[in-house]
């Protein structure tokens, strides 16, 4: 269950995306900014996935991990 505050944060971040940008999520399909907002508001599996990725990114930014290569 995603909190209302987190949904609100993610939707605010989506609002900043230019209208002509679309996201392609593997075989799940391609989504416009408005479609993405709806998926997040509706709490769909796509919306939840997007929120999960956003939160992971925000945490990585806060920890200063964005420019760290993955070791193999």
């Amino acid at each position: 269950m995603v909190s209302t505050d987190i949904k609100k944060l993610v939707i605010e971040r989506i609002e900043r995306i230019p209208e002509n940008h679309k996201i392609s999520i593997g075989s799940l399909g391609s989504f416009s900014k408005q479609q993405l907002k709806k998926e997040v508001k509706d709490g769909s599996s796509i919306g939840k996935k997007f929120i999960e990725r956003e939160l992971a990114f925000i945490r990585a930014q806060a920890r200063g991990e964005l420019l760290r290569p993955k070791e193999f």
Binding site: R13, I14, R16, I17, P18, N20, H21, K22, I23, S24, I25, G26, S27, L28, S30, S32, K49, R53, E54, A56, F57, A60, L66, L67, R68, P69, K70, F72
Partner: protein
């Protein structure tokens, strides 16, 4: 892709076999793997944790025919195939398997719908794969190729972060970083093509 490969190393196009469109089906894939016995196999298509898909979403590689990847170096730009198919391919005899263990995400600009190759939003997401492939073809080890790919991810993230439209690119940077984190590899990473 054939031209790209030929440019990196002087490999005559007769030594590269490309399947795309209607020819990208299971029968043709298995025929090439069995008869030509390529050392390096590059997949680019939809996928799942246990499969890679071709034309019309037909499954062209899964756990049941992973033995066809025996003694090969494999890269799959296919969602989630690196999660389970990758390790099964190694068990079936593949030297190494590189890919992603989650959905591969990228952004595109609708204004370039007719000319996707010129879309500046798409390039950052695919250049790490091209860098990896180029590194492999030049004879570097799988480990070195992955290092180059990771280096390219960081380069693209830095470039987007410092660009004038940095604030408008936060979503692109986020998903680029996520793809980078989900890049995985199995098997012998110290082998080269």
């Amino acid at each position: 892709m054939k031209n790209f490969i030929s440019k990196i190393k002087n490999i005559e196009s007769k030594y590269t076999h490309m399947l795309e469109g209607v020819r990208l089906n299971k029968i043709n894939v298995l025929k090439i793997l069995d008869k030509v016995k390529p050392e390096l196999v590059l997949f680019n298509g939809h996928g799942s944790e246990v499969s890679i898909h071709g034309n019309n979403d037909e499954v062209i590689m899964d756990i049941s025919n992973a033995k066809s990847l025996n003694e090969k170096i494999v890269h799959a730009l296919s969602c989630r195939a690196g999660k389970e198919l990758g390790s099964k391919a190694i068990e079936a005899g593949a030297h190494s398997f590189m890919g992603y263990d989650d959905d591969f995400i990228f952004w595109n600009d609708e204004n370039y719908a007719g000319t996707p190759l010129k879309d500046p939003l798409v390039k950052p997401f695919f250049s790490p794969t091209l860098r990896l492939i180029a590194s492999l073809i030049k004879g570097n080890t799988v480990r070195e190729a992955l290092r180059k790919s990771q280096e390219e991810y960081i380069h693209q993230i830095e470039k987007l972060s410092t660009s004038e439209s940095g604030e408008n690119n936060a979503h692109i940077i986020g998903d680029l970083w996520t793809d980078q984190q989900h890049q995985v590899a199995h098997g012998n990473l110290d082998i080269n093509f």
